[in-house]
């Protein structure tokens, strides 16, 4: 694969109202990546974007979304009024027309870039808060501290996980699910200040106590940032594994051992499911074996280390029994699904309402899905981002030149994609095959029949 990071040309945030006078242009730039770019170059880039955005308002009330030049693609995102986030990627272009076709270079999908910006903003809002609420003197620092590591840790690639951003739910038999829910109930009753907002096993979600949007952000934080580091630590630290049985607080990373550690707890802006507005909470994360539980605690609460110690004693043993019983089930389930999945066609399922996401391709970020070809991915990205084309009810079958059949299905706020590689197939064969896969894989889910 091509080194993706090279392709991100720059990422910056600006607000034109911060330095309206001439000579104050640098004040408008809240954040600029990469940092080695000179101030003049920054001014030029930002200035161009400001101009384009401003210019576009003449034509449309909708904010400007993208700009493409011969060598670069700019994606704009205005999360809050006057705050603009811009992501720029280089487009491989050839000065000579005769480039060989097998060295075809891939371009990041615009929708992927757009989603990247949105995720970045949401993560920022979750940890730091809305931009407009941050005092002007702090915002430069906040952006620097947040976005630099964020950009460095993230790769932007045409991966199926980036094309469709969803939450992977763990299929669980109802008794195990009830164990999880009852455990949460018991915990919340015994520790009324703590509200369990998510229960994640490995990288799959079991319980969600947030609004769907915030859940996605928290889920992405857990699965993409926090948990990989933890897993790495667990693999390295042989001696730690014994202690893991009991579980521990993993945020802050050193754990919570004394009252000082409580000061290091992250504060997050989240909207819980029963809330009507976003509020600030402490985020407490606990992990045993492969189960990770997140709690929110109101920031007005007086935290005491004794509560945390007793919570540790309470959760540890219970969570590890639950985790081990889930792991048994997962093993069983994995066994069954390997026996079941005799199909070598890949499929992707996405539910817009709960952001549930399921795919036949390995969804872990460690093993990128090489199974899906870039062209195919680009088609899926197109169908997914252009919701109007399929509407709430429809099916589209596309054949690529290299014998891939891509089927997109939309029904009742759900999307289902099937990729079939079949040389000598006709439209009807594909339609039948898709129907079969849909019935096999999505039991009990109703897709409007064609």
């Amino acid at each position: 694969m091509i080194d993706i990071k090279n392709k991100v040309n720059s990422f910056f945030i600006f607000n034109s109202t911060f330095g309206p006078k001439e000579g104050d242009e640098l004040k408008r730039i809240l954040f600029y990546h990469p940092s080695q770019v000179t101030q003049d170059a920054r001014k030029i880039q930002v200035g161009l974007c400001e101009a384009v955005v401003k210019f576009m308002t003449t034509f449309s009330t909708e904010p400007c979304e993208a700009l493409q030049t011969q060598s670069k693609r700019y994606i704009f995102y205005q999360p809050e009024k006057d705050y603009w986030m811009v992501l720029v990627v280089r487009i491989p272009y050839a000065t000579k027309a005769a480039t060989t076709s097998n060295e075809k270079k891939e371009v990041i999908e615009p929708s992927v870039m757009q989603d990247f910006l949105m995720s970045a903003y949401k993560m920022f809002r979750m940890f730091i808060g809305p931009m407009k609420d941050i005092p002007t003197e702090d915002i430069y620092n906040n952006c620097e501290q947040f976005f630099t590591p964020y950009i460095m840790s993230r790769s932007i690639a045409n991966d199926i996980n980036n094309v469709i951003q969803g939450i992977s739910y763990l299929p669980l038999e109802k008794n195990s699910f009830f164990r999880v829910v009852c455990f949460i109930d018991l915990l919340e009753i015994n520790y009324p200040d703590f509200k369990c907002v998510s229960f994640v096993y490995n990288d799959k979600l079991i319980w969600n106590g947030l609004t769907t949007d915030d859940m996605l952000t928290l889920y992405q934080y857990l699965v993409q940032t926090l948990l990989p580091k933890q897993v790495e630590k667990e693999i390295q630290g042989g001696a730690v594994t014994a202690a893991q049985r009991h579980g521990r607080f993993i945020s802050p990373p050193e754990g919570i051992r004394n009252a000082d550690d409580l000061q290091k707890l992250h504060k997050v802006y989240l909207m819980r499911e029963e809330d009507t507005e976003t509020k600030q909470y402490y985020l407490v994360i606990y992990r045993t074996l492969s189960a990770t539980v997140c709690f929110t605690v109101d920031v007005t609460t007086n935290l005491s280390i004794d509560t945390f110690r007793s919570l540790d004693a309470f959760i540890g043993p219970q969570l590890s029994t639950i985790a081990s019983s889930i792991s048994e089930q997962c093993a069983l389930h994995a066994l069954q699904s390997t026996q079941l999945s005799n199909t070598d066609h890949s499929f992707i399922y996405f539910n817009r309402l709960n952001l549930a996401y399921k795919t036949s391709a390995p969804s872990s970020s460690l093993t990128p899905s090489t199974a899906i070809k870039p062209e195919v991915l680009s088609i899926i990205a197109g169908i997914h981002s252009d919701r109007k084309s399929l509407g709430n009810y429809g099916e589209i079958i596309i054949k690529t030149p290299d014998e891939y059949w891509v089927t997109g299905k939309s029904s009742n706020d759900r999307e289902f994609y099937v990729i079939i590689q079949e040389k000598n197939a006709n439209l009807k064969d594909i339609a039948d095959e898709v129907r079969r896969i849909c019935e096999d894989q999505m039991k009990g889910i109703f897709f409007y029949p064609m």
Binding site: F178, C182, D185, E188, I189, Y448
Partner: protein, 627 residues
């Protein structure tokens, strides 16, 4: 340790029956006898000359009469049908003779006769009436079972068995006699059922000292006959500490022995109330109760039991508006639940007050008490009260509440399994509900516990615990429970939990649930999505079509109708109206599909006049002419 106390409950869990049966007190001229088979007290004044009064709990069987004083009476008992009175007297040289008097309408006739048992020089230890016309003489030589022929004034031997016994214990409920041979070192039970004497397996008592008569009780408990043996510390040097009660199965109880740990020493008496073994202890004036049905793992075929709850005394009774002495030395306790105070002249029965069991319980023991209440005939109301209180304080008692639900549902599961077995095996087993005195179905729990507690802060947790317990026992949530869950979860803003439960199949598919979810669709699109899935799974294809039409999805509706086999029944007018409202493209598609349907159904693509599609035919022409 925190204690649970049921609100408005009394500390007493046992009481004597409200109105005691009164009889003339024991005195030098009056003798009192008790027949535990019929539960009757005989007061014999001046040897019967000045009258015999028979008192029992059944007023229709009470009577009084006079008879000749032919000598001191040892035992006097009616046959179970009250047609024959048998009297054993202590007359020198007549040790083996019993007198009989025929009765008619509870009045003596002048037909009297006697019978002497087959062993002429035997001593009759006692006699019992196993059946209406059968009497058994228990002698120190053995048992003789006789049939009484009152018209012929004679008795016919049915069966006899030789056994050298010193004393015996009789259980009228199981017709079992336990004879103590070898001066109490050998305990041999006999069954007197079906007009014969059956020797049962003797009881192995490996104690160094012989068993005393007052330490042995034969009783019927949980459908089986048991021998209760008091094992005092003094009786066996190997046993130290307080007295234990050993329950040894005689017949029908399997092979498991139960050991009841009383933790006390002294004089005891035993009653059986509602399948509970009650051990009265005189010196501490307490009565402990043991439930041998509670779940426990036998070790070496022995199960240890502790008292169900801490022992308290029986509720003080009063006689003639005076408090009556409880646990007095004048009390005689008979099986199964009679208490007699011979000095006061009172006959009571011991009663269970179920609410008292929950008066003061260790927090951890609440599920155990509920489990015990589930096995009591009168336990239902107390269970409701306990559960209500637990739900109201779910913040403290969620774990206990969960376990209580498990107890309730495991009983229900067993009952359901038994019903299935009964139905498949045919009408063979007659004892259907008898094993399950309290059966709490989902509707009961919902109506009496969860629904009335709809305002409790922790209702969602309690409800989830209940649903989880149902799932653990493989009981599908019924519409009552599901409807309650939906209502409760939504009013508490737990819509996500509701959806999660539906997604994981925890609530079970049902049409009412689907409709409820559907009606939430305007607030929560995800609920409508799930509702539609559920309807499709339930094969309610007609409903799905209606829903899609109302959602402005005419083509989806047509597709669903075709896939579900409801295509023929879709009203053309309705579909066309929806399609026209949606878009011209959709209208054309629907129109063509309907033409094809007409063609197939009637051989012609045209609509019938009765379908009233004229305006749509015009609209179609208009559309097609434009293009």
């Amino acid at each position: 340790m925190a204690k649970f106390s049921l609100k408005d409950s009394d500390e007493y869990y046992l009481s004597l029956s409200e109105q005691p049966k009164r009889f003339d007190a024991d005195s030098p001229v009056t003798n009192v006898f008790f027949d535990d088979t019929n539960g009757q007290v005989f007061t014999v004044r001046s040897g019967g000359v000045t009258g015999v009064t028979v008192n029992g709990m059944d007023d229709s069987k009470c009577t009084s009469f006079r008879m000749e004083d032919k000598g001191p009476i040892i035992s006097i008992k009616f046959s179970p049908d009250h047609k024959i009175l048998a009297i054993q007297r202590n007359i020198e040289g007549q040790n083996a003779t019993v007198e009989f008097v025929n009765f008619k309408d509870l009045a003596p006739t002048n037909i009297e006769y006697t019978h002497t048992c087959k062993w002429k020089n035997a001593k009759i230890l006692g006699f019992v009436w196993p059946r209406a016309s059968e009497i058994a003489f228990i002698t120190d030589h053995g048992i003789e079972l006789l049939q009484v022929l009152p018209d012929k004034k004679q008795l016919k031997t049915l069966k006899s068995t030789s056994f050298s016994g010193a004393w015996f214990s009789w259980c009228a409920q199981s017709n079992i006699i336990l004879l103590a041979g070898n001066n109490g070192a050998l305990l041999q039970p006999f069954s007197l059922n079906s007009s014969t004497i059956t020797k049962l397996q003797k009881l192995e008592v490996e104690w160094s000292r012989p068993v005393m008569e007052r330490d042995v009780f034969v009783l019927r408990l949980c459908g089986a006959a048991w021998c209760a043996l008091f094992r005092h510390a003094a009786a066996a040097p190997t046993v130290s500490g307080p007295t234990e009660v050993w329950l040894m199965p005689i017949s029908g109880g399997g092979s498991v022995q139960h050991v009841l740990k009383t933790g006390l020493t002294g004089r005891f008496a035993v009653s059986v109330v509602d399948h509970l073994l009650v051990i009265h202890h005189q010196s501490s004036q307490t009565s402990q109760i043991f439930d041998i049905m509670e779940e426990a793992k036998p070790e070496n075929n022995v199960v240890m039991h502790l008292p169900l709850v801490q022992g308290v005394s029986m509720r003080p009774a009063s006689v003639d508006d005076q408090p009556c002495p409880m646990y007095s030395g004048n009390w005689v306790v008979f099986q199964p639940d009679y208490v007699i105070d011979a000095r006061l002249g009172c006959l009571w029965r011991v009663q269970l007050l179920p609410a008292g069991l929950a008066h003061s319980v260790l927090k951890d023991d609440v599920p155990r008490v509920v489990a015990a209440l589930l096995r009591r005939r009168a336990g239902r109301d107390t269970i409701y009260r306990v559960l209500n209180q637990l739900v109201a304080h779910a913040g403290t008692y969620l774990v206990e509440l969960t376990k209580c639900f498990d107890e309730i549902n495991s009983v229900y599961r067993r009952w359901a399994d038994a019903e299935v077995a009964r139905n498949t095996a045919g009408a063979g087993a007659a004892h259907g509900r008898a094993h399950f005195p309290v059966l709490l179905a989902q509707a009961d729990v919902c109506a009496h516990v969860l629904a009335p507690r709809a305002d409790e802060p922790h209702l969602v947790a309690a409800l989830t615990a209940y649903l989880a317990s149902l799932a653990r026992h493989a009981l599908p949530a019924q519409p009552d429970a599901a409807a309650l869950a939906v209502r409760a979860l939504l009013t508490r803003g737990a819509g996500a939990r509701l959806r999660a439960l539906v997604r994981r199949g925890c609530l079970g598919d049902a049409r009412p649930l689907a409709c409820q979810l559907l009606s939430l669709g305007h607030l929560d699109p995800a609920a409508a999505q799930l509702a539609l899935d559920m309807m499709w799974r339930l094969k309610a294809h007609g409903d799905v079509v209606e829903v899609l039409l109302s959602w402005d999805e005419p083509l989806g509706a047509a597709g669903a109708a075709r896939a579900g086999g409801a295509w023929g029944g879709v009203a053309a007018r309705k579909l066309l109206a929806a399609a026209r409202a949606h878009s011209p493209g959709a209208f054309l598609a629907a129109y063509h599909a309907l033409l094809a349907r007409n063609e197939r159904a009637r051989g012609s693509p045209h609509f019938l006049n009765t379908e009233q599609c004229d305006i749509y035919i015009d609209y179609y022409r208009q559309l097609t002419s434009e293009s």
